[in-house]
Protein backbone atom coordinates (compact mmCIF):
# COMPACT_ATOMS: atom_id res chain seq x y z
CA UNK A 1 0.00 0.00 0.00
CA UNK A 2 2.92 2.37 0.52
CA UNK A 3 5.05 0.69 -2.11
CA UNK A 4 6.14 3.78 -4.00
CA UNK A 5 7.42 5.80 -1.09
CA UNK A 6 10.60 3.79 -0.51
CA UNK A 7 12.78 5.91 -2.77
CA UNK A 8 11.67 9.13 -1.11
CA UNK A 9 13.11 8.23 2.29
CA UNK A 10 16.81 9.10 2.38
CA UNK A 11 17.57 8.01 5.92
CA UNK A 12 16.30 4.42 5.84
CA UNK A 13 19.72 3.27 7.10
CA UNK A 14 18.72 4.67 10.48
CA UNK A 15 14.96 4.55 10.04
CA UNK A 16 14.92 0.75 9.71
CA UNK A 17 16.64 0.08 13.08
CA UNK A 18 14.42 2.75 14.66
CA UNK A 19 11.24 1.07 13.39
CA UNK A 20 12.57 -2.30 14.53
CA UNK A 21 13.33 -0.89 17.98
CA UNK A 22 9.77 0.46 18.29
CA UNK A 23 8.29 -2.78 16.94
CA UNK A 24 10.43 -5.10 19.07
CA UNK A 25 9.73 -3.28 22.33
CA UNK A 26 5.97 -3.38 21.81
CA UNK A 27 6.01 -6.99 20.55
CA UNK A 28 8.08 -8.30 23.46
CA UNK A 29 6.04 -6.53 26.14
CA UNK A 30 2.88 -7.70 24.38
CA UNK A 31 4.18 -11.26 24.59
CA UNK A 32 5.04 -10.93 28.29
CA UNK A 33 1.59 -9.52 29.07
CA UNK A 34 -0.08 -12.27 27.06
CA UNK A 35 1.61 -14.82 29.35
CA UNK A 36 -0.93 -13.68 31.97
CA UNK A 37 -3.83 -14.86 29.77
CA UNK A 38 -5.79 -17.31 31.90
CA UNK A 39 -3.60 -16.59 34.95
CA UNK A 40 -4.73 -13.08 36.01
CA UNK A 41 -5.76 -12.61 39.65
CA UNK A 42 -9.35 -11.86 38.64
CA UNK A 43 -11.11 -12.28 35.32
CA UNK A 44 -11.58 -8.57 34.53
CA UNK A 45 -7.91 -7.79 35.05
CA UNK A 46 -6.82 -10.83 33.09
CA UNK A 47 -8.93 -9.41 30.24
CA UNK A 48 -7.55 -5.91 30.75
CA UNK A 49 -3.95 -7.05 30.50
CA UNK A 50 -4.61 -9.19 27.42
CA UNK A 51 -6.41 -6.22 25.81
CA UNK A 52 -3.30 -4.14 26.44
CA UNK A 53 -1.22 -6.96 24.96
CA UNK A 54 -3.42 -6.83 21.85
CA UNK A 55 -3.02 -3.06 21.48
CA UNK A 56 0.77 -3.39 21.81
CA UNK A 57 0.77 -6.17 19.23
CA UNK A 58 -1.13 -3.90 16.86
CA UNK A 59 1.46 -1.17 17.33
CA UNK A 60 4.24 -3.71 16.74
CA UNK A 61 2.57 -4.85 13.50
CA UNK A 62 2.40 -1.27 12.21
CA UNK A 63 6.09 -0.67 12.92
CA UNK A 64 7.13 -4.04 11.45
CA UNK A 65 5.06 -3.42 8.32
CA UNK A 66 6.74 -0.07 7.88
CA UNK A 67 10.22 -1.56 8.48
CA UNK A 68 9.50 -4.36 6.00
CA UNK A 69 8.38 -1.83 3.40
CA UNK A 70 11.68 0.03 3.81
CA UNK A 71 13.72 -3.17 3.73
CA UNK A 72 12.33 -4.49 0.44
CA UNK A 73 10.06 -7.11 -1.03
CA UNK A 74 11.75 -10.12 0.57
CA UNK A 75 10.72 -8.97 4.05
CA UNK A 76 7.37 -8.94 5.78
CA UNK A 77 6.12 -8.38 9.32
CA UNK A 78 6.08 -12.09 10.16
CA UNK A 79 9.67 -12.67 9.06
CA UNK A 80 10.81 -9.74 11.16
CA UNK A 81 8.99 -10.97 14.25
CA UNK A 82 9.56 -14.70 13.92
CA UNK A 83 12.86 -15.21 12.12
CA UNK A 84 15.31 -12.77 13.69
CA UNK A 85 17.93 -13.78 16.26
CA UNK A 86 17.98 -12.42 19.84
CA UNK A 87 20.93 -10.11 19.12
CA UNK A 88 18.96 -8.53 16.25
CA UNK A 89 16.16 -7.48 18.61
CA UNK A 90 16.27 -3.88 19.79
CA UNK A 91 13.67 -3.86 22.56
CA UNK A 92 14.16 -2.23 25.94
CA UNK A 93 15.46 -4.70 28.53
CA UNK A 94 12.50 -3.96 30.81
CA UNK A 95 10.15 -5.49 28.22
CA UNK A 96 11.85 -8.90 28.16
CA UNK A 97 12.11 -9.16 31.94
CA UNK A 98 10.07 -12.09 33.27
CA UNK A 99 6.68 -11.15 34.69
CA UNK A 100 7.49 -12.23 38.22
CA UNK A 101 4.39 -11.39 40.30
CA UNK A 102 1.36 -9.18 39.63
CA UNK A 103 3.00 -6.19 41.37
CA UNK A 104 6.02 -6.26 39.04
CA UNK A 105 3.77 -6.71 36.00
CA UNK A 106 1.60 -3.75 37.03
CA UNK A 107 4.53 -1.50 37.85
CA UNK A 108 6.33 -2.34 34.61
CA UNK A 109 3.15 -1.58 32.64
CA UNK A 110 2.80 1.73 34.47
CA UNK A 111 6.44 2.71 33.82
CA UNK A 112 6.12 1.66 30.19
CA UNK A 113 2.73 3.27 29.51
CA UNK A 114 3.96 6.48 31.11
CA UNK A 115 7.05 6.40 28.87
CA UNK A 116 4.94 5.58 25.78
CA UNK A 117 2.49 8.35 26.59
CA UNK A 118 5.16 11.07 26.50
CA UNK A 119 7.06 9.33 23.69
CA UNK A 120 4.08 9.15 21.31
CA UNK A 121 2.97 12.66 22.31
CA UNK A 122 6.25 13.82 20.72
CA UNK A 123 6.48 11.26 17.90
CA UNK A 124 3.08 12.31 16.55
CA UNK A 125 4.84 15.48 15.35
CA UNK A 126 7.58 13.51 13.57
CA UNK A 127 8.61 14.65 10.11
CA UNK A 128 8.09 11.06 9.02
CA UNK A 129 4.40 10.84 8.13
CA UNK A 130 4.02 7.14 8.78
CA UNK A 131 5.64 7.29 12.22
CA UNK A 132 3.48 10.30 13.05
CA UNK A 133 0.34 8.43 11.94
CA UNK A 134 1.16 5.34 14.00
CA UNK A 135 1.98 7.49 17.05
CA UNK A 136 -1.26 9.49 16.79
CA UNK A 137 -3.30 6.31 16.73
CA UNK A 138 -1.30 4.47 19.41
CA UNK A 139 -1.51 7.44 21.77
CA UNK A 140 -5.28 6.97 22.03
CA UNK A 141 -4.72 3.41 23.24
CA UNK A 142 -1.80 4.24 25.54
CA UNK A 143 -3.96 6.86 27.27
CA UNK A 144 -6.21 4.02 28.47
CA UNK A 145 -3.21 1.84 29.44
CA UNK A 146 -1.79 4.66 31.54
CA UNK A 147 -5.12 5.25 33.29
CA UNK A 148 -5.50 1.58 34.09
CA UNK A 149 -1.95 0.97 35.31
CA UNK A 150 -1.95 4.21 37.35
CA UNK A 151 -5.11 3.13 39.15
CA UNK A 152 -3.57 -0.24 39.98
CA UNK A 153 -0.32 1.26 41.27
CA UNK A 154 -2.36 3.48 43.61
CA UNK A 155 -4.75 0.68 44.60
CA UNK A 156 -1.94 -1.71 45.50
CA UNK A 157 0.54 0.84 46.87
CA UNK A 158 -2.06 2.48 49.09
CA UNK A 159 -3.78 -0.83 49.81
CA UNK A 160 -2.92 -3.34 52.51
CA UNK A 161 0.44 -3.71 54.21
CA UNK A 162 1.11 -6.79 52.10
CA UNK A 163 0.20 -5.14 48.77
CA UNK A 164 2.29 -2.09 49.68
CA UNK A 165 5.29 -4.30 50.51
CA UNK A 166 4.92 -6.17 47.22
CA UNK A 167 4.73 -2.92 45.26
CA UNK A 168 7.75 -1.46 47.03
CA UNK A 169 9.63 -4.71 46.26
CA UNK A 170 8.59 -4.28 42.62
CA UNK A 171 10.09 -0.75 42.63
CA UNK A 172 13.34 -2.26 43.88
CA UNK A 173 13.13 -5.13 41.39
CA UNK A 174 12.73 -2.86 38.33
CA UNK A 175 14.98 0.00 39.39
CA UNK A 176 17.88 -0.90 37.08
CA UNK A 177 15.68 -0.93 33.97
CA UNK A 178 14.05 2.51 33.79
CA UNK A 179 16.95 4.72 32.70
CA UNK A 180 17.27 2.85 29.40
CA UNK A 181 14.05 4.58 28.26
CA UNK A 182 15.97 7.86 28.21
CA UNK A 183 19.27 6.89 26.60
CA UNK A 184 19.61 7.76 22.93
CA UNK A 185 20.85 5.08 20.54
CA UNK A 186 22.99 6.12 17.56
CA UNK A 187 20.12 5.66 15.10
CA UNK A 188 17.88 7.89 17.21
CA UNK A 189 20.54 10.60 17.37
CA UNK A 190 20.97 10.50 13.59
CA UNK A 191 17.23 10.66 12.92
CA UNK A 192 16.80 13.50 15.38
CA UNK A 193 18.73 15.78 13.00
CA UNK A 194 15.77 15.57 10.60
CA UNK A 195 13.16 15.57 13.38
CA UNK A 196 12.17 12.02 12.46
CA UNK A 197 12.93 10.51 15.87
CA UNK A 198 12.36 12.21 19.19
CA UNK A 199 14.78 13.18 21.92
CA UNK A 200 14.04 10.62 24.63
CA UNK A 201 16.29 12.46 27.10
CA UNK A 202 13.88 15.38 26.91
CA UNK A 203 10.91 13.34 28.17
CA UNK A 204 12.66 11.98 31.28
CA UNK A 205 11.61 14.96 33.42
CA UNK A 206 7.91 14.54 32.53
CA UNK A 207 8.11 10.82 33.13
CA UNK A 208 9.75 11.25 36.53
CA UNK A 209 7.24 13.91 37.55
CA UNK A 210 4.29 11.66 36.70
CA UNK A 211 5.87 8.71 38.54
CA UNK A 212 6.55 10.90 41.59
CA UNK A 213 2.95 12.18 41.63
CA UNK A 214 1.47 8.70 41.37
CA UNK A 215 3.91 7.27 43.92
CA UNK A 216 2.98 9.98 46.38
CA UNK A 217 -0.66 8.99 46.11
CA UNK A 218 0.31 5.31 46.26
CA UNK A 219 2.58 5.85 49.31
CA UNK A 220 5.54 4.34 47.45
CA UNK A 221 9.13 5.53 47.30
CA UNK A 222 10.97 5.81 44.02
CA UNK A 223 14.43 4.25 44.21
CA UNK A 224 17.10 5.58 41.84
CA UNK A 225 19.51 2.97 40.50
CA UNK A 226 23.28 3.27 40.85
CA UNK A 227 23.64 0.39 38.43
CA UNK A 228 21.32 0.92 35.44
CA UNK A 229 21.25 -1.64 32.64
CA UNK A 230 21.51 -0.61 28.97
CA UNK A 231 22.10 -2.17 25.59
CA UNK A 232 18.72 -3.62 24.61
CA UNK A 233 18.23 -0.96 21.94
CA UNK A 234 21.49 -2.10 20.33
CA UNK A 235 20.84 -5.83 20.57
CA UNK A 236 22.52 -6.69 23.87
CA UNK A 237 20.04 -8.77 25.82
CA UNK A 238 19.64 -10.98 28.83
CA UNK A 239 19.09 -14.73 28.61
CA UNK A 240 15.40 -13.99 29.25
CA UNK A 241 14.92 -12.79 25.66
CA UNK A 242 16.50 -15.97 24.34
CA UNK A 243 14.00 -18.21 26.11
CA UNK A 244 11.10 -15.89 25.25
CA UNK A 245 11.94 -15.98 21.53
CA UNK A 246 12.53 -19.72 21.65
CA UNK A 247 8.92 -20.15 22.64
CA UNK A 248 7.43 -17.33 20.54
CA UNK A 249 9.26 -18.30 17.35
CA UNK A 250 9.07 -22.08 17.73
CA UNK A 251 6.25 -22.62 15.24
CA UNK A 252 7.84 -20.62 12.40
CA UNK A 253 11.25 -22.13 13.12
CA UNK A 254 9.86 -25.68 13.09
CA UNK A 255 7.47 -25.22 10.16
CA UNK A 256 8.88 -22.34 8.07
CA UNK A 257 6.34 -20.25 6.17
CA UNK A 258 3.37 -21.91 7.80
CA UNK A 259 0.23 -19.76 7.88
CA UNK A 260 -3.07 -19.89 9.72
Amino acid sequence: MQSNTQQQIPNSKFLIPYCLHLADTTLILSHRNSEWCGHGPILEQDIALTNIALDLLGQARNFYQYAAMLMGVEFDEDKLAYLREPNEFKNHLIAEHPNSDWAVTILRQFYFSCYQYYFYSELKNSNDEQLAAIATKALKEVTYHLRWSTEWVVRLGDGTEESNTKMQNAVEFLKDYVIEFFVMSDYETELLKDAVSIDVKAIQGKWQQKVNDVFEEATLNFVPSPNSRFGGKDGEHSEHLVSLLEEMQSLQRTYPNSVW
Binding site: M1, E44, Q45, I47, A48, N51, I52, L54, D55, L56, L57, G58, Q59, R61, N62, E129, Q130, A132, A133, I134, T136, K137, A138, K140, E141, T143, Y144, R147, W148
Partner: protein
Protein backbone atom coordinates in the same frame (compact mmCIF):
# COMPACT_ATOMS: atom_id res chain seq x y z
CA UNK B 1 -18.39 9.41 -18.10
CA UNK B 2 -18.08 11.43 -14.92
CA UNK B 3 -21.81 11.03 -14.26
CA UNK B 4 -21.64 7.29 -14.91
CA UNK B 5 -18.75 7.02 -12.47
CA UNK B 6 -20.48 8.92 -9.72
CA UNK B 7 -23.49 6.63 -10.09
CA UNK B 8 -21.28 3.56 -9.71
CA UNK B 9 -19.52 5.06 -6.71
CA UNK B 10 -22.93 5.59 -5.10
CA UNK B 11 -23.79 1.96 -5.88
CA UNK B 12 -20.57 0.80 -4.24
CA UNK B 13 -21.30 2.82 -1.11
CA UNK B 14 -24.73 1.11 -1.03
CA UNK B 15 -23.01 -2.28 -1.15
CA UNK B 16 -20.57 -1.27 1.58
CA UNK B 17 -23.54 -0.30 3.76
CA UNK B 18 -24.42 -4.01 3.88
CA UNK B 19 -21.01 -5.16 5.21
CA UNK B 20 -21.18 -5.76 8.95
CA UNK B 21 -18.56 -5.61 11.66
CA UNK B 22 -17.84 -9.26 12.57
CA UNK B 23 -17.57 -8.56 16.31
CA UNK B 24 -20.52 -6.17 16.62
CA UNK B 25 -22.68 -7.49 13.76
CA UNK B 26 -25.42 -4.92 14.32
CA UNK B 27 -23.08 -2.22 12.98
CA UNK B 28 -22.09 -1.85 9.36
CA UNK B 29 -18.68 -0.59 8.37
CA UNK B 30 -20.25 2.66 7.20
CA UNK B 31 -21.98 3.11 10.59
CA UNK B 32 -18.53 2.78 12.17
CA UNK B 33 -17.03 5.31 9.81
CA UNK B 34 -14.12 3.12 8.77
CA UNK B 35 -14.69 3.48 5.01
CA UNK B 36 -12.79 6.63 4.14
CA UNK B 37 -13.07 6.70 0.36
CA UNK B 38 -14.27 4.84 -2.70
CA UNK B 39 -12.58 5.31 -6.06
CA UNK B 40 -12.95 3.83 -9.49
CA UNK B 41 -9.59 3.66 -11.20
CA UNK B 42 -9.64 2.27 -14.75
CA UNK B 43 -11.28 -1.13 -14.36
CA UNK B 44 -10.93 -1.64 -10.63
CA UNK B 45 -12.64 -0.43 -7.50
CA UNK B 46 -10.52 0.91 -4.67
CA UNK B 47 -11.95 1.02 -1.18
CA UNK B 48 -9.95 2.99 1.37
CA UNK B 49 -10.50 1.88 4.94
CA UNK B 50 -8.91 2.83 8.26
CA UNK B 51 -8.45 0.44 11.20
CA UNK B 52 -10.37 0.99 14.43
CA UNK B 53 -7.96 -0.21 17.12
CA UNK B 54 -4.39 -0.89 15.97
CA UNK B 55 -4.56 -4.52 17.05
CA UNK B 56 -8.19 -5.20 16.16
CA UNK B 57 -8.29 -8.71 14.68
CA UNK B 58 -11.57 -7.93 12.90
CA UNK B 59 -9.83 -5.73 10.33
CA UNK B 60 -8.58 -8.62 8.17
CA UNK B 61 -12.04 -10.15 8.16
CA UNK B 62 -13.64 -6.81 7.29
CA UNK B 63 -11.32 -6.43 4.30
CA UNK B 64 -12.26 -9.94 3.16
CA UNK B 65 -15.99 -9.28 3.60
CA UNK B 66 -15.74 -6.06 1.56
CA UNK B 67 -14.12 -8.04 -1.23
CA UNK B 68 -16.82 -10.74 -1.10
CA UNK B 69 -19.66 -8.22 -1.09
CA UNK B 70 -18.26 -6.40 -4.12
CA UNK B 71 -17.56 -9.63 -6.02
CA UNK B 72 -21.13 -10.82 -5.35
CA UNK B 73 -22.33 -7.61 -6.95
CA UNK B 74 -20.18 -8.02 -10.02
CA UNK B 75 -17.14 -5.96 -9.11
CA UNK B 76 -14.34 -8.48 -9.38
CA UNK B 77 -11.33 -6.14 -9.54
CA UNK B 78 -11.15 -4.86 -6.01
CA UNK B 79 -8.31 -3.17 -4.23
CA UNK B 80 -8.53 -2.48 -0.51
CA UNK B 81 -6.17 0.10 0.88
CA UNK B 82 -5.68 0.71 4.57
CA UNK B 83 -4.64 4.15 5.79
CA UNK B 84 -3.75 5.19 9.35
CA UNK B 85 -4.15 8.92 9.03
CA UNK B 86 -6.38 10.62 10.00
CA UNK B 87 -6.77 8.20 12.90
CA UNK B 88 -10.20 6.63 13.30
CA UNK B 89 -12.32 8.06 16.09
CA UNK B 90 -15.66 7.10 17.62
CA UNK B 91 -16.75 10.65 16.66
CA UNK B 92 -17.17 9.26 13.12
CA UNK B 93 -19.78 6.75 14.23
CA UNK B 94 -23.14 7.71 12.73
CA UNK B 95 -26.19 8.55 14.87
CA UNK B 96 -27.96 5.58 13.28
CA UNK B 97 -25.01 3.44 14.36
CA UNK B 98 -25.23 4.68 17.94
CA UNK B 99 -28.98 3.99 18.02
CA UNK B 100 -28.45 0.46 16.65
CA UNK B 101 -25.78 -0.20 19.28
CA UNK B 102 -28.14 0.85 22.05
CA UNK B 103 -30.93 -1.39 20.75
CA UNK B 104 -28.44 -4.26 20.57
CA UNK B 105 -27.60 -3.80 24.27
CA UNK B 106 -24.29 -1.92 24.01
CA UNK B 107 -24.07 1.62 25.38
CA UNK B 108 -22.74 3.89 22.59
CA UNK B 109 -19.73 6.18 23.15
CA UNK B 110 -20.66 9.19 25.26
CA UNK B 111 -19.52 12.71 24.34
CA UNK B 112 -16.54 13.12 22.07
CA UNK B 113 -13.31 11.16 21.75
CA UNK B 114 -11.21 13.63 23.74
CA UNK B 115 -13.41 13.36 26.82
CA UNK B 116 -12.78 9.64 27.58
CA UNK B 117 -16.08 9.66 29.49
CA UNK B 118 -16.66 6.89 32.00
CA UNK B 119 -19.24 8.61 34.21
CA UNK B 120 -22.98 8.74 33.65
CA UNK B 121 -23.08 6.02 31.00
CA UNK B 122 -26.70 5.12 30.30
CA UNK B 123 -27.88 1.55 30.77
CA UNK B 124 -29.07 0.27 27.35
CA UNK B 125 -31.69 -1.92 29.07
CA UNK B 126 -33.51 0.40 31.50
CA UNK B 127 -31.95 3.79 30.55
CA UNK B 128 -30.84 4.52 34.11
CA UNK B 129 -27.63 6.49 34.54
CA UNK B 130 -27.09 4.93 37.96
CA UNK B 131 -24.43 2.66 36.48
CA UNK B 132 -21.03 1.46 37.63
CA UNK B 133 -17.83 0.82 35.72
CA UNK B 134 -16.60 -2.73 36.37
CA UNK B 135 -13.57 -2.69 34.08
CA UNK B 136 -12.16 -0.26 31.51
CA UNK B 137 -11.42 -3.27 29.30
CA UNK B 138 -14.00 -5.73 28.03
CA UNK B 139 -14.60 -8.58 25.62
CA UNK B 140 -13.14 -6.67 22.66
CA UNK B 141 -10.62 -3.82 22.41
CA UNK B 142 -13.36 -1.23 21.90
CA UNK B 143 -15.50 -2.03 24.94
CA UNK B 144 -15.60 -1.49 28.70
CA UNK B 145 -17.64 -3.50 31.17
CA UNK B 146 -20.47 -1.91 33.22
CA UNK B 147 -23.18 -2.86 35.63
CA UNK B 148 -26.52 -1.11 36.06
CA UNK B 149 -27.23 -0.39 39.75
CA UNK B 150 -30.99 -0.14 39.08
CA UNK B 151 -31.88 -3.10 36.86
CA UNK B 152 -28.72 -4.98 38.01
CA UNK B 153 -27.90 -6.07 34.46
CA UNK B 154 -24.29 -6.08 33.27
CA UNK B 155 -23.65 -4.40 29.91
CA UNK B 156 -20.90 -3.37 27.51
CA UNK B 157 -19.96 0.24 26.80
CA UNK B 158 -18.37 1.21 23.48
CA UNK B 159 -15.46 3.39 24.67
CA UNK B 160 -14.55 6.79 23.28
CA UNK B 161 -11.54 6.56 21.01
Amino acid sequence: MIIAQSISIKKIWKILETVCDPEVPVLTITDLGIVRDVKIVDDFVEVVITPTYTGCPAMDMIAMNIRFALIENGYSNVKITSVLSPAWTTDWMTETGKQKLKEYGIAPPKGNAESIAFDGVECPQCHSINTKLISEFGSTACKALYKCEDCKEPFDYFKCY
